[in-house]
């Protein structure tokens, strides 16, 4: 699949923003959200990340005038559900921030629960947009369903630590000297890295898709493309026949793993300076860009069979 940068940016940025919002709500509920300035600074960061993501997603649309119609088919389309969940997230977030400003604690708890619920709904919808496609075996896996929520929450937590700064441990871990948020972020990053390693180790190959014989409805014989019937590129070759060289994919996988997971884990675990959280967040998001680019670039649509491409 063509790795459209607008969609790569969208899923990484909005995922991190949604994750950050979820952690902010949880931290505040646990009394660990720091002072007011930290709370509002974090909320602003989450808003910017989510909004930049959704703004970027509209760049992918060839006819943006009709984007408002995208909420119509929520009963069948995960893309539509994603839009509905995102709007629910904005509404719940608005109510949550209003309750926080007015110090209405009961409303704050209710709105906070809604923020988490709509963020979860958005995560699930985004994942299912890709996981529901029967045409792309590399996306129709448990990996896709887990990766979007997990990586979003991991990046959000790293961002929370960066925005919060090296504050003294509060709430649950108060007095213990252990920063539970950092430990949790390291655990999530480890889980995310393990997920990617497991996915790449058992990457669905040509056998996961229909064969060229299935594509032509011919039981016997070995099939080879003689002529694709067009002299230059088409919409189909542009969109579905993107190929990334094996060597390059290997390099990028390593880069994603190191920048996105290993380096932030090391920074959060070993470094203590005020800069360590910010450096971890920047590296994590950069690594996730590479990871998400590969998620698209390495996906193989079955229409490639009609273009003589099997792997």
């Amino acid at each position: 699949m063509r790795p459209a940068l607008s969609v790569v940016f969208f899923t990484v940025s909005a995922g991190a923003g949604l994750g950050l919002a979820v952690w902010l709500v949880l931290a505040r509920a646990l009394g660990a959200a720091g002072d007011d300035a930290t709370f509002w600074r974090t909320a602003a960061c989450a808003f910017v990340l989510v909004s930049a993501g959704f703004a970027s997603s509209t760049l992918h649309l060839a006819n943006r005038r009709n984007a408002w119609r995208a909420l119509a088919c929520w009963r069948t389309s995960w893309l539509s559900r994603e839009g509905v969940a995102a709007i629910g997230f904005y509404a719940a977030s608005g109510a949550y921030l209003a309750a926080a400003a007015l110090r209405a604690d009961a409303a704050l708890a209710l709105a906070g629960a809604l923020v988490v619920a709509f963020a979860a709904g958005t995560f699930v919808s985004t994942a299912m947009i890709y996981a529901c496609l029967k045409t792309i075996p590399q996306w129709r896996t448990w990996h896709t369903r887990v990766a979007f929520p997990l990586l979003g929450l991991a990046a959000g937590l790293v961002a929370w630590i960066a925005v919060r700064g090296p504050a003294a441990p509060q709430g649950l871990a108060a007095g213990s000297g252990v920063d539970l948020w950092r430990e949790l972020a390291v655990a999530l990053l480890a889980a995310g890295g393990a997920l990617k390693l497991a996915y790449w180790a058992k990457f669905p190959g040509p056998d996961a898709a229909p064969s060229p014989n299935d594509a032509l409805g011919l039981r016997d014989g070995t099939i080879r493309l003689l002529d694709a019937g067009h002299s230059h590129g088409t919409f189909l070759t542009d969109e579905f026949c993107f190929r990334v060289a094996r060597e390059r994919a290997r390099t990028l996988r390593a880069a994603a793993l190191v920048a996105g997971f290993v380096a932030p884990m090391a920074l959060l675990e070993l470094a203590t300076g005020a800069w360590s959280g910010a450096a971890a967040a920047v590296l994590c998001v950069a690594g996730l860009f590479v990871e998400r680019w590969l998620f698209f670039a390495e996906a193989r649509h079955v229409v490639r069979l009609y273009h003589g491409i099997r792997d």
């Binding site: 009709n66 069948t76 029967k134 032509l216 011919l218 016997d220 099939i223 694709a228 969109e239």
Partner: protein, 243 residues
Amino acid sequence: MKLGLVVDLDTCVGCHACAVACKEWNGESAMAGGSPDRDPYGAVPSGVWFNRVRHFEVLSDAPRDAASGHLNLSKTVNVPLSCMHCEDADCVTVCPTGASYKRAEDGIVLIDPERCMGCNYCAWACPYGARELDPSSGTMRKCTLCVDRIYDAALPAEERQPACVLACPAHARHFGDFDDPASAVSTLSRERGGGALMPALGYRPVNRYLPPRAPAQVDVSRLPAAPTLRERLASLVNRVVSL
């Protein structure tokens, strides 16, 4: 009704007449929204096609027929691909705006360009490459089964067929109702063992593809042995006479 096409992979000669006729009819069609080209006479021409013909070589798995000892020849198979008007059309259910729809009365899958936002998601869901984005309007395009021909009472009855079917010089394309077991397409598909492409994906495509017929086999054991002296003499005489 369940309208669709039968494509005969045995007789298709790969001439692209169906694809050109499709372009001609749908180029300006209001129902199809047009199938515009990009830089058609330039160095890198491209464009929207609702129907594309691809050419494949099918090599026999067994190089020699075990019984006759004859070589099994490879075969060129030309495969025209257009919308299969699937019964479980994911391109319709994934569409967020409702621009893609499947008609209840005849099963034709259509796009309303007025509602399409050009997100490409339906094209991602289609395994047959039947949907292509028109970059000039930013909306998706696809085969309409010439819905603006097949019901046109102003046309003679025999012309109320998709343009591709009418254009095919090899009669490799047939149009009809698969819901009617007695229809020409149902009968043809049944008799020739017509099948769907990639049925395992579960889209239940309507169009049927007739497999190439087995090539005629010559039984070498029944070929005449070496000519007798009498036959060679007769042959010599024949050649002299015909000088």
